[in-house]
Amino acid sequence: MRYDVQKEPIDPRELEAAVTYPGAGAICTFSGIVRDSSRGQTVTHLDYEAYAEMAVPQMRKIGQEIKDRWPEARVAMAHRTGHLEIGEVSVVVSVSCPHRAEAFEACRWGIDRLKESVPIWKKEHAADGTYWIEGDQAKPVA
């Protein structure tokens, strides 16, 4: 298990190495990437801000929820903070399991929960201005 909030680029291979064990037959790794567009607008770059002291424990809690549902799963998560360019990896969730069905389900569950409950925020710098992305809403920076 490994949970990181970090300024440095994320290496998904390190997370996969952290979840590998001899009984693992399947690893599912999700990477979130900075897209070049949002809300129909060109995006130039992003800034991510985290409440790191809370974000890491929240990730740990999600890892525990996964273990409760898929006891053989091993989980690693990392989220980047700071300035990110198009194409950079913002978040990675990697889950290993004996078989692939559980690996896909547990990984999907992990990223969905991370996106709803880990206190990390995205500021989007786009052609039409700068916005805080709050759930489905984009709120212009005053």
Binding site: K115, I120, I133
Partner: protein
């Protein structure tokens, strides 16, 4: 009136910008709830949004608005996280 208690308030993201502060020390009456703390702050930083669009965390865990704060607690007011389909 009983002696006030001191809590440490943290703001993040859009709330940090609206409050104009990252961290704020605040004195509140004993028995204050998280809602009381937020209302006190909103009276001071009038641009802070209505409580409905904000979540509260107490000592780094999500908490109910009616949870009571104690001296030395870390309180955070948290806008919706980035979420979305990305």
């Amino acid at each position: 009136m009983a002696v006030a208690i001191a809590v440490r308030v943290r703001f993040f993201a859009r709330l940090r910008e609206l409050a104009g502060a990252e961290i704020e020390a605040l004195q509140v009456p004993p028995g204050s709830s998280l809602a009381d703390v937020y209302d006190a702050l909103r009276a001071k930083h009038t641009t802070l949004p209505a409580r409905e669009s904000v979540r509260a965390a107490l000592n780094q865990e999500f908490a109910d608005w009616n949870a009571t704060v104690a001296g030395g607690d870390e309180v955070a007011f948290i806008p919706p996280v980035s979420g979305g389909r990305g």
